[in-house]
Point group: C2
Chain length 280, copies 2
Amino acid sequence: MKIAATVEEIRSAVKAWKKEGLSVGFVPTMGYLHEGHQSLMQKAVSENDRVVVSIFVNPMQFGPSEDLESYPRDLEKDATLCEASGVDLIFHPEPKEMYHPDFSSFVDMHSLTDSLCGKSRPAHFRGVCTVVTKLFNIVQPDRAYFGQKDAQQLAVIQQMVRDLNMDVTVIGCPIIREADGLAKSSRNSYLSADERKAALVLSRALEVAKQLLANGERDAAKIRNTVSETIQAESMAKIDYVELVDARTLQQVDSVERPVLVALAVYIGKTRLIDNFITE
Amino acid sequence: MKIAATVEEIRSAVKAWKKEGLSVGFVPTMGYLHEGHQSLMQKAVSENDRVVVSIFVNPMQFGPSEDLESYPRDLEKDATLCEASGVDLIFHPEPKEMYHPDFSSFVDMHSLTDSLCGKSRPAHFRGVCTVVTKLFNIVQPDRAYFGQKDAQQLAVIQQMVRDLNMDVTVIGCPIIREADGLAKSSRNSYLSADERKAALVLSRALEVAKQLLANGERDAAKIRNTVSETIQAESMAKIDYVELVDARTLQQVDSVERPVLVALAVYIGKTRLIDNFITE
């Protein structure tokens, strides 16, 4: 396994593979890899001849008051995990390799990005679309793997790929959880022991929603209220949003009929965590 | 030569060529082809194994009061010219093939697009960047050819390709003129006989600027004023802009030192024409 820091190295490695007729899988990450990323890498390895993982904490998708500087980083541990998963090449660029001084282009969309995480993180998805476009153009993968935990990100990228005719198959992969239910996230490393316990309220609240749905409840407002009450009962938790939206358009629904994304974002202390599920 | 209306047809043709190791040149156009386009096609044919020309009047780059509906179209004549030039494949999609009903993504940039044509055509370059991104993703060319007549468009596309790591070489080609100096343009077909004569004021005004520069004039304001006076002397002409800008940043200059783009847009009757040159 090789670690490359430049666009040029990635391009030449991928071009050599393509010349041999090999397929290329791609897992874009911000590093500090956990079992969620591992599941993406393993799926990529199983479905492609060669796999590239990018590890890049993308400044463009962080707001001015967000955790860009403190975002956890551990390249050595990441590289070990990538190698163990069968990854062939890591792309680990410096920010200046990705954004030259007079960089000024961006990719964005009118739909999907205003609700949910886009509401509290206004330029976030512009940053995501732009860096993913760049990474796709650099790696030119046949298939790219994204976690369902970032449900809105996955929906946005699928829309972008469709709209802009990007020649890549986007594959969403299930959320991976700790044994007690907490969705795996690099940001879990911010949590103190007490916060770690409190953070269970996210998955617990989603279980409450699942139970209501299993019992035949279809009223989105009622489900939202019960979920919110569950979260509010945890004193360390502060709701950013609890939403039931159409799984494709991300527009709020009144009633749960078609597939609905039940999504929430909750601050546990200063750490913002997200979790979700899609109804059958 | 084949004419394809679907993304799928283009993709499969290009993939077959790439499998054979053939290089692909691309000339994106809005059709109603003239000798300017022909020079792009001929250069593309001379530098690539296969050449694709797109003919698509892109609704997204027209403003609400612009000439989308009346823009001249003649596919039959275009196809004859393409075939004579050695083009292998024409991509001629319907608007609905390019923009499905829930289309919502776009590509744009913060720099380069506010000045010159961007001032009087506010969403124009967003439309250009978006459609060119789509076309590049569909055709996946090694080289793409654009005319220097649309100088700002060429600068914008070069910036976009650099910023977004698009794997294509953008090649700018010189302006082609009628014998009397008028820059070739599909929009010249709008001109009445009298307007056609009046339209010569564009190239004449640029010649005045060249003469001033040859005589050692370096003051951008003086050159701009003399060019404007030349245009104003033609009663059928109405200036949209006369600008001297840095050829790379498109920022106004006070003095002509580095390469400067001398660019103008002028209404002749209802027809908006552009022309330019870059100082040595």
